[in-house]
Symmetry: C2
């Protein structure tokens, strides 16, 4: 069995984090959507006010996967939770339990910080992931659909009359 | 036309925020899901490290609606955005443009803080809201479904072997 370790990412990991972000975007069939570059990653994740946290799974000194998360908030619970933005294991490192170990590491943090829930979004065609998550006790918020405003629409609304 | 104002909520607003949370949960047909109480609200929203921000819309000194939001993060953009957790206008105060003004006020904040996107979740049967959001340039992330782990499942995963 391959040994791997999980640790919080540090700024020197920025290049490999960017590789993993791109690897996941390719898996999600949206490689063109990644406009992030290394300097943005350094500023947003390792600056004075980090905007998200990253856990890296490593085999030896090679990064094999990552989890990216931040805190969300529930008015129903009146407290914070964790939103898992990305969970990804490189194709060549799959089948070793790394994905589950990353998710478990996030759950340990959620428990320590007394988070009432964890959420994340899954692509509808990604049946292996759906089965994996359901096996851990996750359920789908089937009634809900996410909506998004991009930057242009935000600015149009912000600048609108009335 | 009824005049209204929009302002950031302060701790003294906690009771009315709780009323609005319950009002929205009733509209969403999930009133039993609200376990939040006033002391949790005060601690989570107005303590040393606020977990979300609240804008109140008021007619005179009466709160007519609210928006609750926090920052999310996009690895594709390499930067933060805004997640709108709640947007609600009391039934008796509708039709005056308060919902749009609240959403616009959040967009103004998103623009000021250079957020690359705004997201929120909408109930699939809530067609008036869907039409309203689409009219502002929002699009549905149709391919994605939200999954959730509740506290018990988080603890089970956190405490699991391996």
């Amino acid at each position: 069995m391959t040994e791997f370790t999980i640790r919080p990412a540090v700024e020197a990991d920025a290049p490999v984090i960017l590789e993993l972000i791109r690897g996941l975007a390719e898996y999600e069939r949206a490689p063109d959507q990644v406009v992030c570059d290394e300097s943005r990653l350094r500023a947003s994740l390792f600056g004075e006010r980090p905007e998200a946290e990253v856990l890296l799974a490593c085999i030896g000194d090679q990064a094999a996967g990552f989890a990216v998360f931040f805190h969300n908030y529930s008015t129903w619970l009146g407290g914070k939770g964790i939103y898992l933005e990305d969970l990804f294991v490189r194709p060549e490192a799959r089948g070793k339990g790394i994905g589950k170990a990353l998710l478990k590491a996030v759950a340990v943090i959620a428990k320590e910080r007394q988070c009432g829930r964890m959420r994340w979004a899954v692509l509808d065609w990604n049946q292996p992931s759906i089965d994996f998550y359901r096996g851990l006790g996750a359920f789908a918020l089937d009634e809900w659909t996410l909506y998004q405003l991009n930057r242009e629409a935000i600015e149009r609304l912000a600048d609108s009359e009335g």
